[in-house]
Amino acid sequence: MLQNLTFQAKRENLPQMLAQIAAEISKYVKNEIWFNRLKLCAEEILVNIIDYSGSEKLYISCEFVESENALRFEFADEGTPYNPLENDTDIDIDAEMDARNIGGLGIFLYTTIMDKLDYNYKDGKNILTAIKFLSEGDEDGCAIK
């Protein structure tokens, strides 16, 4: 369990943040594609916070919720109140290359991969919660463990 790991909100600290998150994910997620997807989601959320929140610090929590058989991530910052989920998170992945917008890929990825996302502003903090339900191995691409 990671509880309120605190970092300076800087891109140069990303590798350190991701190493700790990856170590936690790897305890529960054995499928390497899903391991990578969840690490990717964490990065995309963190980069949004670093680039746009204006917060000096950010806080990371990650826990396995046994009752729901789920991994629950929480990302918090003390920046300007901002709900990233209010953005248009969809991109047309079938669009022609020239029509592809170079931005928006990160939020598209984490809203696509995660099962549940929730935003709250509480006690001066933006708090984004992301949940992925874990499943036993199967062939349809959603195997996690």
Partner: protein
């Protein structure tokens, strides 16, 4: 010294390697930009990914940028990518614009 670009010419070769997260991706973009601005001689752009362990959207954006700037006349290849790396390209739909091969066959 270039960290990613290996060879510039009609077939221009770029070696993607390690972890290309958002803290690293600007370095890749900085190497690609001048290359692509002097694009006249490039006929094929080959991204080798056999030693690429991780790529985030910031890295994917560099590939999209290259493909968009070079235009339809230049073929862009992704070579030797692992299933984990290919998964990220597929999720973003970028795989459709790349010639994906295990080994570069031209």
């Amino acid at each position: 010294m270039a960290n990613y670009v290996m060879e510039i010419g009609e077939v221009t070769k770029v070696k993607l390697h390690g972890h290309i997260d958002a803290s690293i991706a600007p370095e890749l973009m900085n190497e690609l930009k001048p290359l692509i601005e002097s694009k006249d001689e490039i006929k094929k752009l080959v991204f080798y990914a056999d030693e690429l362990e991780y790529i985030a959207s910031a890295g994917i954006r560099s590939v999209v940028f290259a493909k968009q700037k070079l235009g339809a006349g230049v073929e862009v290849f992704l070579i030797g990518a692992s299933p984990v790396i290919l998964d990220v390209f597929k999720m973003t739909g970028i795989d459709k614009f790349l010639n994906i091969q295990d080994k570069f066959e031209g």
